[in-house]
Amino acid sequence: MATEENKKAANAGGFVYLPLIAGWLVPGAGHFLLRKWGRGALVAASILGMFVLGLAMHGKLYSGAHDVLDILGLAGDLGNGLLFFVSRSLGLGAEQVQITTGDYGTRFIVVAGLLNVIAAVDAHNLRTGRKS
């Protein structure tokens, strides 16, 4: 539902995809750019919490795609934006899942990425005025 506030946001100048890209690269940044401080903080805490818990549970960070499931896992991981790239470059995350909680950790990391994409799209919708 488009409100007056939404229309103002939609008519504001600047790069319209900035909140989407920023939100993908840094969880919560898209909402912060739009001055939605509370929502941004909750998004950042949730995504970061899931990602860190996933790593703490010895979850796997997908590095390449060897089969269909790996492609889906990599796509989910990429949703984490800079968290994924920085963690890969630091060598964090398990190469192989060897313990039970590692499987949970892998899912936590993938789902954190998928939720981050949803949040980034939400920031884009706020920017374009489709949502208040």
């Binding site: 909750l42 995504i47 949803i118 949040a119 949502k131």
Partner: protein, 56 residues
Amino acid sequence: MTHFLAVVLFALFASVIFGITQRETPRRMLRYGIYCFLLFAGSAIVLSWIMFLIAR
């Protein structure tokens, strides 16, 4: 970390994002977030009991 705690944390984080992104007003976000959390956690408990009873 226990399996149940992992489920609860997963449900909590996912529900926060769902609440924020799928509703427009703070009150409706909170209500939807709680609704999602209860569905996540409740379905995990129910499915766990079903699997437990099947395995006996």
